[in-house]
């Protein structure tokens, strides 16, 4: 199902023409309206007219998260405040939050993008869509809200938290679509079963749109099994617009990027050089049509690759692979780079444990050590030390095979690791690196 078939299936040549035309416009507008960009262009000796082809984008300086913090709060707005009708911010856990400003046109666009995403996975006006992302400054809640309403679905703006009520609403309203973080969806399933006494598979949930944190294919299988729905991956970020930049189609084989509004590149995170399509690297996004706050070559820090191969769904829009991690989630342990997803995958391949884990980094004797806490599953608890030790060793071996260094696995009691209602905190870094 398409929300906007003409655009979503636009011939590639036409799509590139449209992108170039929009790129020229946005570069000109950013240069004229945002002193931050003008300064960057001037320093690089670049004029908006120098951008003549899509490839010329490589001459434009990157915009980083640090730039955004420096511009706090409204320094990157390209529209006067009287035209900004809404602001959102990132969580700001690692410093000053990033502020995003939306004009009425931007809000319309946001709704359109989410409407495309949801329609792509079969959501219609006959659905009841429960949004369990936080409403408020976080983009998750309101972004989905605008899109689901645009489709005409019945929106249940549950927001994050109050898990018991979430489940009661699902049961009583007959919720068919859920949108939340993947880790929260697993918590919902667990809570429904054990605290409310409802088998989540008996709920009417049909599809789910999960995002705002890194997750794996193995996690998808668990979510689908436990909640009895088809789970899809959504991608987006506050700096660009919020959720809805890309979403999986029915094929569950990569996320279609709405290329008529976003220009994507993959770069080598170390050198900043553009990498050819298909290679893994850092995703860089230029928003082509944002009115309130255009973004030129924003470094997302997300690691993925671009898939240009035509998709079975008929859309011509390129796909990105599921995000593998963030350049700043990358853990460097004894000189080895690793991502939490590698550990997650390995854990979920082993039977007998729960999909709840935490990675603890320590440096007891000048040498980094990784300890992975994994919850044992109630069903497989054996009263023999030998069997528990075997399970533990199996996990250690599997993780070592995945990341290339030895880790210590500690099995912990079921439900003893903290559950999150938003983004799960998977890494505890206790190394004192100062």
């Amino acid at each position: 199902m398409y929300w906007n078939k003409e655009v979503e299936c636009m011939p590639e040549e036409k799509l590139r023409e449209l992108q170039l035309e929009r790129l020229k416009q946005v570069v000109k507008r950013a240069y004229e309206k945002v002193p931050f960009y003008r300064k960057k262009f001037d320093e690089a000796g670049l004029k908006p007219e120098d951008i003549r082809t899509l490839e010329d984008i490589k001459y434009i300086p990157f915009t980083s998260k640090a730039d955004m913090r420096e511009a706090y709060p409204f320094g990157l707005f390209a529209a006067p405040l009287e035209e900004i009708v809404e602001v959102h911010t990132s969580s700001g856990t690692t410093g000053k939050p990033v502020v995003a400003g939306y004009t009425r046109k931007d809000i319309e666009l946001w709704g359109e993008l989410i409407a495309r995403c949801l329609t792509m996975i079969g959501v219609t006006k006959h659905d009841i869509v429960q949004i369990a992302y936080g409403y408020g400054l976080f983009t998750g809640g309101l972004g989905f809200h605008y899109g689901a309403q645009k489709i005409g679905a019945t929106v249940v703006p549950a927001s994050a938290g109050n898990t018991r009520r979430q489940i009661e609403l699902m049961r009583d309203f007959g919720t068919t679509v859920i949108a939340c973080t993947p880790s929260y969806s697993l918590y919902l399933a667990e809570y429904a079963k054990e605290e409310v006494g409802i088998d989540p598979a008996t709920l009417k949930l049909r599809v789910g749109s999960f995002g705002a944190e890194m997750w794996t294919e193995e996690m998808r299988k668990e979510i689908e099994k436990r909640l009895g729905l088809k789970a899809f991956n959504v991608y987006g970020l506050t700096e660009i617009i919020g959720p809805g930049v890309a979403h999986e189609c029915e094929a569950q084989a990569g996320l279609h990027v709405w290329e008529d509004h976003f220009l994507i590149e993959i770069i080598d995170p170390e050198t900043g050089e553009t990498l050819p399509d298909g290679e893994e690297g850092e995703l860089v996004i230029t928003s082509l049509t944002r009115d309130g706050m255009p973004m030129l070559r924003f470094r997302t820090r997300d690691i993925t690759r671009i898939i240009r191969k035509k998709c079975d769904c008929g859309r011509t829009m390129a796909r990105i692979e599921r995000i593998k991690g963030r350049t700043d989630d990358m853990i460097k342990v004894r000189g080895v780079m690793l991502f939490p997803y590698q550990i997650e995958q390995a854990i979920l391949e082993v039977q007998g444990v729960e999909p709840h884990y935490q990675i603890v980094l320590t440096r007891p004797h000048y040498l980094d050590e990784i300890e992975v806490l994994v919850e044992m599953s109630k069903e497989t608890f054996s009263d023999e030390v030998r069997e528990i030790e075997e399970l533990r060793k199996k996990l250690e071996k599997r993780i070592e095979a995945a990341v290339g260094i030895r880790v210590k696995v500690t099995l912990v009691e079921p439900k003893s690791l903290p559950r999150s209602e938003g983004k799960a905190k998977r890494i505890i870094d206790k190394r004192n690196l100062k």
Partner: protein, 143 residues
């Protein structure tokens, strides 16, 4: 005559054993025998109690992972070589002992040895054949 033993997974954390025992106290569960297998990471608390089902339910409600397992309770003489004699029978029958713990009511009298082996059925028949006393659950509670 297998006996239900309750096993509890304990993380190696301060106060965890105490918390488990407090739960049992609250349920008025009486412990007849107890042992802890411990590694540096975790422990397994194994107990023979008068109300195993209730104990399991209460522990689980309080966030513990508990499991009922079958074991055999064997009577041995409280004298040098008492347990060795029993183990000799198992050795001859090619039975492997997973774990064992014992309790004595009064010195010099019969001691009870709780054990889990690679094959409980066979263990019972082998020992009974040799005239070793196998305790039923009721006998154990009244011991």
């Amino acid at each position: 005559m297998k006996i239900k033993q309750i096993s509890v997974f304990l993380e190696n954390k301060k106060g965890r054993l105490y918390e488990a025992l407090k739960v049992l106290q609250g349920e008025r569960v009486n412990i007849r025998a107890l042992s802890i297998a411990d590694t540096s990471e975790f422990g397994i608390l194994r107990m023979i109690v008068d109300k195993p089902e209730e104990a399991k339910k209460a522990l689980e409600e309080n966030g513990f992972t508990a499991k009922l397992t079958n074991v055999v309770a064997v009577g041995v003489k409280d004298e040098p070589g008492g347990l060795a004699a029993v183990l000799a029978y198992l050795y001859e029958a090619d039975l492997n002992v997973e774990y064992v713990y014992a309790f004595v009511k009064k010195a010099g009298e019969e001691a009870i040895v709780v054990m889990r082996t690679s094959n409980l059925e066979k263990t019972i028949s082998v020992l009974q054949e040799k005239g070793v006393k196998i305790f039923s659950f009721e006998e154990l509670l009244n011991f």
